[in-house]
């Protein structure tokens, strides 16, 4: 699945590991409305959020689970989609624009899809193979199409420059267009993708709208992010960032051409930028019954909502796809001393942090791996970290002191920095009131172990661009990640290798990194799923042993909706509502 939004991060915070027992089940799903009990057509469905906007609307740039699920349900269609049902069945693929879920050949290095006839754009024109190819080409325009998933750019068989960038510069500049045309070709209604490696689950990568068709004549470059051309059941009537988005029915869409989507409501209105307390008030008072909240509640309001028996059918509390953690910047001069990393981990009072963010019931439980149990095969309980007998959920300052004593001899420079009141360890964290409080708890806990911790609060919108800049990144960064699909290949290489898109550990100067990278590459290309899973398990253990990340939290998510919203279920692969079946009672 997708990267957590900063919004998620703002609510989720740091905590450390807990009991193993909880890890077994991938889903501890709360109540969920039953789908399609008596679905009704018509009415207006409201969505409310504190966010100012969707992170992106342009299909090539959308990369958060919520936004993908939302737009995939309403606005645009991919070659393949996840099945819109509750439970684990939702993780299976169904053909959408294509007639099948893709045919691999050449050791999964070539994939072909055939388009289903009858699907149309807003203006009634047919969706063609060229539209798909054009859509796929857009992410190569890296200066315009930012933020989207990079799987297609990385995997398509197009030569790369020395710095790793593709020789094809996208459809706007057209440099190297012929290279792209070789990798992606149309023959009638059949589109062929040529890849540079074996990619057994390439079709999963196509659940991302980055592989969705875009009508060339309607492409407006950067502005496409505001109003993409629809081939789904709705189209954008208006979208004003910070205000609202209104979706109305797309008259050109035909049910007959689409086996996935069921548009019930006549209008969909998304209200942005609601103050958090106002948003919570709406949900708590049920003042707009036909409302779905796109956010969780503030921690303080969770209990009131979830303890209310009248709201039993308006909520769910589930393990979401995300793991949140603190990444150690192990580059020289930062957290390059294992003992110090460990000491930080052992000193933290995990219980207090979890309580602060809503308790284990709403926030999550301490985890022991970067890979979440929901990934099934790829997860295996690790040893050490939270399973260390010396670890305590309320913090183990004595153990931490021991580790620091060891660090004093092993790495005196790091020890000195960590204990010097004028220097200290600096933790990058996005600026929210919860994080500010967490900083107090962490600082206090670490003080008991003699460690000086300082916090660098970064405004939410600038957080990732700051911490992902090696020049600006400090010693520890808070982050979160969810698998892009049910394979740790979308987790471990992404987070811990140099080529990954989200490496906060900067660990490639680590002595053992080369070996790690080799193993990771091997696992990535492995087509035997069982063997591959074993590789990920080992790597997960290694990451935890190295304390590249500490205190992963297997997070939970809460979802609320108003009393007249029906058809709600948890769409597991997207980690959010199955938007497509929502209706107004």
């Amino acid at each position: 699945m997708s990267k957590m939004t900063s919004r998620h991060l703002r609510r989720r915070l740091l905590a450390t590991t807990a009991a193993t027992a909880l890890l077994a089940a991938g889903v501890l799903v709360g109540t969920a409305g039953t789908a399609n009990a008596a679905a009704k057509t018509g009415g207006t469905l409201y969505f409310i959020t504190h966010s100012e906007q969707f992170d992106h609307v342009d299909p090539a740039r959308v990369y958060t689970g919520r936004d993908i699920a939302f737009f995939n349900s309403y606005l645009y269609r991919n070659l393949v989609s996840y099945k819109p049902t509750a439970g684990s069945a939702g993780s299976s693929l169904v053909a959408d624009l294509a007639t099948n879920t893709g045919v691999p050949s050449n050791a999964a290095k070539t994939w072909t899809f055939t388009l289903r006839p009858g699907s149309t754009w807003e203006d009634g024109s047919a969706v063609t193979c060229a539209d798909v190819a054009y859509g796929v080409s857009r992410p190569f325009a890296q200066d315009v199409i930012t933020d989207g998933p990079q799987y297609l750019v990385q995997a398509l068989d197009i030569p790369k420059n020395d710095d790793g960038s593709s020789k094809y510069a996208g459809p706007y500049k057209k440099t190297g267009q012929e290279l792209f045309d070789k990798a992606v070709s149309c023959k009638g209604n059949t589109i062929t993708f040529k890849l540079n490696r074996s990619f057994a689950d390439f079709n999963y990568a196509l659940t991302y709208p980055a592989g969705a068709p875009v009508k060339k004549a309607k492409d407006t470059g950067d502005k496409y992010d505001l109003k993409p051309y629809s081939n789904g059941p709705y189209k954008i009537e208006s979208y004003q960032i910070g205000d609202e988005m209104v979706l109305v029915r797309n008259a050109a869409w035909k049910k007959s051409s689409d086996s996935v989507r069921t548009p019930y409501a006549d209008n969909l209105v998304v209200r942005f930028g609601l103050a958090e307390d106002v948003r919570d008030q709406i949900m708590l008072d049920n003042s707009i019954p036909n409302t779905v909240s796109l956010d969780g509640l503030m921690p303080a309001n969770n209990r009131a909502f979830f303890d209310d028996p009248k709201k039993a059918n308006q909520r769910m509390n589930v393990y979401d796809p995300y793991v949140s953690y603190a990444a150690m910047n192990v580059a020289a001069g930062h957290m390059d001393c294992l003992n110090v990393r460990k000491a930080v981990f052992f000193a933290i009072n995990t219980q207090a942090l979890i309580d602060l963010s809503g308790g284990t019931v709403y926030y999550g439980v301490p985890g022991d791996s970067p890979v979440k149990p929901v990934l099934g095969l790829d997860y295996k309980p690790t040893t050490g970290n939270i399973h260390d007998p010396a670890w305590k959920i309320t913090g183990a300052p004595d153990k931490a002191k021991e580790l620091m004593a060891a660090a004093k001899t092993a790495c005196p420079a790091a020890y000195d920095r960590a204990t010097n009141p004028d220097k200290g360890i600096v933790w990058d964290i996005s600026k929210t009131s919860t994080n500010e409080k967490a900083s107090v708890l962490i600082t206090n806990a670490l003080k008991l172990a003699g460690i000086v911790m300082k916090f660098n609060f970064i405004p939410g919108g600038q957080y990732y661009s700051t911490v992902m800049n090696p020049e600006k990144q400090n010693d520890i960064s808070s982050a979160g990640w969810g698998a892009d699909w049910a394979n740790a290949s979308t987790v471990i290489p992404e987070l811990f290798t140099k080529e990954g898109g989200f490496n906060l550990s900067q660990n490639w100067n680590d002595a053992a990194y080369a070996a790690f990278k080799k193993k990771s590459d091997a696992a990535k290309n492995e087509t035997n799923r069982a063997k591959q899973a074993k590789g990920w398990q080992e790597l997960g253990q290694y990451v935890m042993d190295q304390y590249w990340i500490i205190r992963p939290i297997f997070g939970k998510g809460q979802f609320q909706w108003g009393s007249s919203v029906g058809g709600v279920y948890y769409w597991e692969p997207q980690g959010t509502f199955g938007f497509g079946q929502l209706y107004v009672k």
Binding site: P171, T220, D222, L226, L274, G460, G461, Q462
Partner: protein, 333 residues
């Protein structure tokens, strides 16, 4: 008269030019790198450079400024090839975070702020001035004392506290406002009642502090004017107290309020940041503060800063001209 206007207007233009230059310079020398900020996840140095070029930050600041000024008059073109598009004049730039021409954003935000400012302005003028007059007329009696309490509370209660209290404990608690419509822009021409409903609490919040200040100001001005010799003259003529107050005292006492009010009003047009934030109003204040706090959206920051400064400078000019009409002593040598 015409000469004077030309002179003042050209002076104003010079000031505006200077302000825009310094705004550019200030934001240029800061250690913020908007290119870096917009770069997102796949952030290689090449992409950062590409973004820098896309944002137009890869040229010296004077060239950026030149482009900006040119854009004001002839519009600006962004992107290449298929992705090319134009922001028509007057173009304040393009926000890559919001995918819109800044001018369009301003056009949308401005009516909101204008509504907020106008409503609050009239509310506080009305309340402040009338309370001030009442207080002055009944100096040291109970209406004066009561208004003094109002003044003290009003001036001591920071807007962010009064706003929150009004929003949480009045507007929402008693259901005066549908929370989902909170801050939703309603045009006064299409739905006057809805417009009032949207803005009434923000007006009250914003007007509270100003009304207190104006009460105090009016009161002291009226009292001061009442002891002027010409008021005694008016009394000696045999005019009734009512006429004296209305025609003689207020005319002189309220004249300085024009200056004060004009500048305060202009200040609001630059964005009532706190009030817009609390009441979720999509106005200039919120636009600018989001631009700063969320993504450091330079074109928006520069544009709103310029706009706010322009209002102040232009209003200064208008106030001076208006004052000359009010006070004949200023009008003619």
């Amino acid at each position: 008269m015409l000469k004077y206007l030309v002179r003042r207007i050209s002076a104003t233009l010079v000031v505006l030019t200077l302000i825009s230059m310094s705004v550019f310079l200030i934001f240029d020398v800061l250690p913020m790198d908007p290119a870096r900020l917009t770069c997102g996840k796949a952030c290689s140095p090449a992409v950062v450079e590409a973004n820098r070029h896309r944002l137009g930050l890869d040229v010296p600041v004077q060239v950026q400024y030149g482009r900006w000024v040119k854009g004001l008059f002839v519009g600006r073109t962004y992107g290449e090839g298929q992705a090319e598009f134009t922001c028509p004049a007057p173009a304040f730039g393009y926000s890559f975070n919001r995918h819109e021409c800044v001018t369009d954003l301003l056009k949308r935000a401005f009516p909101v702020t204008l509504s907020l400012a106008i409503g609050a302005f009239f509310l506080w003028l009305f309340v402040g001035v009338s309370l001030g007059i009442v207080a002055a007329r009944f100096k040291n009696r109970w209406p004066d004392r009561a208004s003094n309490v109002f003044v003290l509370v009003g001036t001591s209660l920071p807007t962010f506290i009064s706003g929150i209290l009004i929003l949480l404990f009045v507007a929402l608690k008693f259901g005066f406002v549908n929370p989902i419509d909170l801050g939703k822009w309603v045009s006064p021409f299409e739905n006057p009642l809805g417009w009032i409903n949207t803005f009434i609490f923000p007006w009250i919040t914003l007007a509270l502090a100003y009304a207190a200040t104006y009460t105090r100001f009016t009161r002291s001005n009226v009292i001061e004017t009442s002891s002027e010799d010409y008021i005694r003259t008016a009394r000696a003529k045999g005019l009734s107290e009512k006429v004296i107050l209305r025609k003689h005292t207020l005319r002189a006492a309220l004249a300085p309020i024009v200056t004060l009010a004009g500048l305060d009003f202009a200040g609001l047009l630059g964005g009532a940041i706190i009030t817009e934030g609390i009441f979720n109003l999509p106005g200039l204040g919120r636009l600018s503060i989001r631009a700063v706090l969320n993504d450091y959206d330079l074109p928006i920051i520069v544009a709103t800063t310029m706009l706010a400064a322009t209002f102040l400078v232009v209003m200064n000019l208008l106030v001076d001209i208006l004052y000359a009409y009010i006070d004949p002593r200023v009008r003619v040598a």
